[in-house]
Amino acid sequence: MSTFAEILLNGVSLGSVYALIALGFVVIFRATEVVNFAHASLLLAGGYVTATLHDDLGFWPALLVGIAGAAVVGAAVEFLVMRRYRGADHSVLAIVTIGVDILLTTELTRRIGTDVLALGDPWGDAVLALGPISLAHTRIAAFVAAALLITTFLLAFRYTSWGVAMRAAAESAETAALMGVRLGRVSLGAWAVAGGLAAVAALFLTVFPTPGLERATSLAALKAFPAAILGGLDSTTGALVGGLLVGVTESLATGYQSDLTFLGRGLGDLAPYLVMVAILLIRPAGLFGTKELARV
């Protein structure tokens, strides 16, 4: 039972990190209707900035610079690339983001090389023992940070003018423009927020028990895709639930791997996608997604 609780708690923590990534993904999709395949490279960029600066600046300033850096990279992608294509088909834009992703990832992997970079976090490999259950400090920090950020974000989304503009643009870009919403700013803001959230996620994807930031980190970030998709691409609630579901599934599949050897190894990596496929079979729009409605 205690192993189960431990696995579950670790899964929730991991899931909350996925939720951060998925949230950024959903924010961009809602604001611009573009599926952002460059999200993983934004995450890598944020992590890389933090990793290179933490020796000189100390961890916390480096993290802030990393978050700001990823936000700037996101905004730059919007401003320099996406904006040139405004009015183009959304699927064209999605393919453009694949190009951006390849460019960014290639450059970053060239810089990282075969290194495994530490981000210099203060938690190290300390473990908190709660009776029979032991939890790494990093996992607790991940959950608390993700919960705080997500709550802040959702409150802002609901109550600030920024949130109102964002939701209006998500429902109908043209009508929002008629109301005076500056669509360019909404889109720029979405990319920046997504970048910032991804940078935080980068930190928690690379701390203990993971060795550190490496080339493959962007692959881990990809697991947020099934999270966003199974939750429903246009739903913030969906991103949260999807993130948690993927995190817990992965954690359980990895934790009980020894009992599942007949399925081969590496089930933990596969499980999120299986869950996604299963859910999409039953609910094609995702758990909380808006069904495609056509008015006749």
Binding site: A165, S172, A173
Partner: protein, 268 residues
């Protein structure tokens, strides 16, 4: 001509190779209600899109001509700057933000309004006085309102920006006659409070009663214009828009009513 108010001069608009408007000129003097009549596809919505600068959403562009408000050019601005300059539009088909609450819809309308918190509060007060039902339903999702209520919300949302000129695109479309009448009263009320109105309508009878001046748009060109009362009396307009045809149709319908067949069970 050309001093205050909204002035459209020699405006041509094309959607790619398709010309939608051809050298259209019209004027909405300060404090006036002006109507543009025309059938489907005459270019009425295009005209409003050109003023609000949202043609690009439909692949259209202004090819010549100018739009100005109080002597200040609006063409060349972004849609948000047009709103900031004092021109708000109530788009055709209401287009309320269905998933947002009524209160948030109104907030969205005020995003570009200057005057800060006090200005917004005053605008909200005015709107709630015009449409008390919106205050009652503030926390309801806009998609759950009835058609008439949605139209009220759409008008209220545009008013939140405290515009100098209100553009209304077919506000009576799809509404029950009684509700259309209420919207007409509201437009009158808004106008007496000092907002100029450019009303685009297919319901010519209603529009001509509200307006002081009217233009008739046909296939992208202004074919008739003049004081609304004069137009209402002209044969051309009476025949085309005011219902000689409609009277015939009504007579037809009445006749048909006499021999009305009810659906019976289909027996193979």
């Amino acid at each position: 001509m050309g001093g205050s108010g909204l002035v459209v001069r020699d405006l041509s608009v094309g959607y790619g190779p398709v010309r939608a408007l051809r050298r259209v000129s019209l004027e909405v003097p300060e404090g006036a209600v002006v109507t543009v009549l025309g059938s489907n596809g005459a270019g009425k919505s295009t005209l409003l899109r050109a003023v609000s600068r949202t043609l690009s959403f439909h692949g259209g562009a202004v090819t010549e001509g100018t739009v100005s408000l109080g002597g200040r050019r609006l063409d060349g601005l972004g849609p948000d700057r047009v709103v900031a300059a004092g021109v708000s539009q109530v788009p055709e088909g209401r287009r309320v933000f269905a998933r947002m609450t009524v209160a948030d819809n109104l907030r969205a309308g005020a995003l570009r309004a200057d005057g800060g918190r006090a200005g917004r509060a005053a605008a909200l007060h005015r709107v709630h006085e015009l449409f008390p039902v919106l205050a009652e339903r503030a926390q309801q999702r806009a998609g759950l309102l009835s058609g008439g209520e949605q139209q009220m919300l759409a008008v209220a949302r545009a008013l939140m920006a405290a515009p100098k000129v209100l553009l209304l695109d077919e506000p009576s479309l799809g509404l029950a006659p009684l509700m259309a009448e209420r919207i007409a009263d509201t437009v009158r009320e808004i106008n007496t409070q000092g907002t100029s109105v450019l009303l685009v309508e297919q319901n010519a009878a209603l529009a001509l009663r509200l307006a002081t001046r009217a233009y008739v748009l046909e296939v992208g060109e202004v074919t008739l214009s003049g004081p609304a009362a004069e137009l209402a009396a002209s044969d051309e307009v009476r025949r085309r828009y005011l219902g000689v045809v409609d009277e015939d149709a009504a007579a037809d319908a009445e006749q048909a009513g006499g021999v009305r067949r009810t659906l019976t069970r289909w027996k193979g």
